[in-house]
Amino acid sequence: MEQIVQTLILGIALGGVFALMGSGLSLVFGVMRIVNLAHPSLIIAGAYVTYWGFKLWGIDPLVMLPIAAIILAAIGVILYKLVFEKEAKSAKYSEMTVLLTFATAMIVEGALGGMFTNTQRVTSPDYATDAIFFGNVFIPTGQLYAGLASLVIIGALALFLKHSRFGNAIRATTQNRDAAELLGVNVNFVGIMSFAIGIGLAGAAGSLVSFVFSFFPAKHWEWIAVLMSLVVLGGMGSILGTVLASFMLSIVAAFVGAYFGSTWSSMTFFLALFLILLVRPQGLFGEKPELA
């Protein structure tokens, strides 16, 4: 019984972090129809920003989080202008952009590797290795803080999308681009801004990742399929769906890991991705197959 509770706690904590990692990806797909395979590599870029802030000046990763988010959002705008703006009107848009984001991921990986080498790193504030005990069951404080921070950010994002004027414009553009344009929304600007917000979320997620996992530039390949599984299961473009999918899959993966060994816990995500694409490509919460 204790082991079940323990596994559940670890799964939920991990789910919180994955939820933030996936929500930026989901936002960018929803508004721009870009399947951003570079998202995980940008998360790692955010992790490096946080790592150096902590290492050089001793700034707490949670304080670095908004800084990483802003830096990455700026990178997002540059990327959009350089790489994606030209493609935004091509007919085979989504397929072409998958290859473009894939190439972008390689650029980010290569740049990070060139600057910081391929050694494994981890940011180590005190709480990262601490744990809170309830009898024999424990909650690792690092993951607890990361999960809570993630939920706060996602909550703020949800409030922004639901209640702000610009947030409404983003949601409107996601649901019906032409209609939004006809009502006076500058959809191109909404596109750039949501791309920036999405990449900013990657930066924020990177800050959390930096003390929850060890990371190195090439690590993003593992995460591509993990994050895609969350976003596809959640129904491409639905942020709420992505969050729920993160918790579901992370809990399943935690149990698979506990009973069959940690190797197979990442297999859970890959197999899930495979199965969802084949059985229910519109995801749990999507209404129509968006990726077809």
Binding site: A91, R165, N168, A169, R171, A172, Q175, N176, D178, A179, A180, E181, L182, L183, G184, V185, N186, V187
Partner: protein, 242 residues
């Protein structure tokens, strides 16, 4: 100059495709209901899309109060006071009715009166108040069309362009939609209507325009267009229609 909107020898089409509109012209007078009729593929919807900026104008010009709209984006044209309700009704299916109305006021520079304007709309269209927290995508076709038309009123536009408001609706509901349209016209809004059901459209209009093969063939007061034997034979389903 009594024309509000003037379209001269307009050529337009989709992406790299052939020109759908090939030298169409049109003059819109303020305060009247104009109805464009013509067979499928004549370029009726294309004309509206070109006016509102969704399609690039290849040749010719569209002038609003003497000022060219060429090269402007849809959001810029909307801010000049031209509103377009496309066939698909341009709603946000997963936003509530109230949120859809609020999006209708997105282009307003002054937001202070927005909530009150929405309240007024809800008063005039009780069904929208009743459904205010329901997702727009879950409403019936007639209710969606009502929402789409009512939403244009929020920004007090000068011209409202309606692309087949009757599409897929039961006759009784269609009658209601034309009622809403006439009410808008009575408030001084100029209407540009595209209607597949030519008879019905012309009967509810002041001015009729016949468009075919991308060109304007004929225009005149709606009763004259209705009575013209050539038009009757070609576009109104034979002489017996009269």
């Amino acid at each position: 100059m009594s024309q509000l909107l003037e379209v001269t020898s307009l050529t337009a089409g989709y992406d790299d495709g052939p020109a759908i509109l090939d030298g169409a012209h049109l003059t819109i007078e303020p305060g009247k209901v104009h109805c464009i009729i013509g067979p499928n593929g004549a370029g009726k919807s294309t004309l509206l899309k070109a006016i509102c900026g969704m399609l690039k104008i290849r040749q010719g010009d569209v002038k609003f109060k003497g000022e060219s709209l060429k090269g402007l984006r849809p959001d810029q044209i909307l801010r000049k006071g031209i509103c377009f309700v496309p066939q698909e009704r341009a709603l946000f299916p997963k936003m509530t009715v109230r949120e859809n109305l609020r999006m209708g006021g997105y282009s307003l520079a002054d937001k202070s009166g927005l909530e009150r304007a929405i309240d007024e709309i809800e008063e005039r269209f009780p069904i929208l108040r009743e459904r205010r927290d329901q997702h727009a995508g879950t409403m019936s076709g007639g209710q969606q069309q009502t929402l789409a038309m009512a939403r244009t009123l929020i920004i007090r536009p000068e011209i409202v362009m309606l692309d087949e408001p009757s599409l897929g609706l039961a006759p009784k509901i269609v009658h209601e939609m034309f009622g809403i349209m006439k009410m808008m016209a009575s408030e001084g809004i100029t209407i540009l209507l595209v209607e597949q059901n030519a008879l019905m459209g012309l009967k509810n209009s002041d001015w009729g325009v016949v468009l075919d093969l991308g060109k304007t063939l004929f225009e005149g007061p709606a009763p004259e267009v209705l009575a013209d034997p050539r038009i009757q034979e070609l576009y109104l389903g034979g002489k017996k229609a009269a």
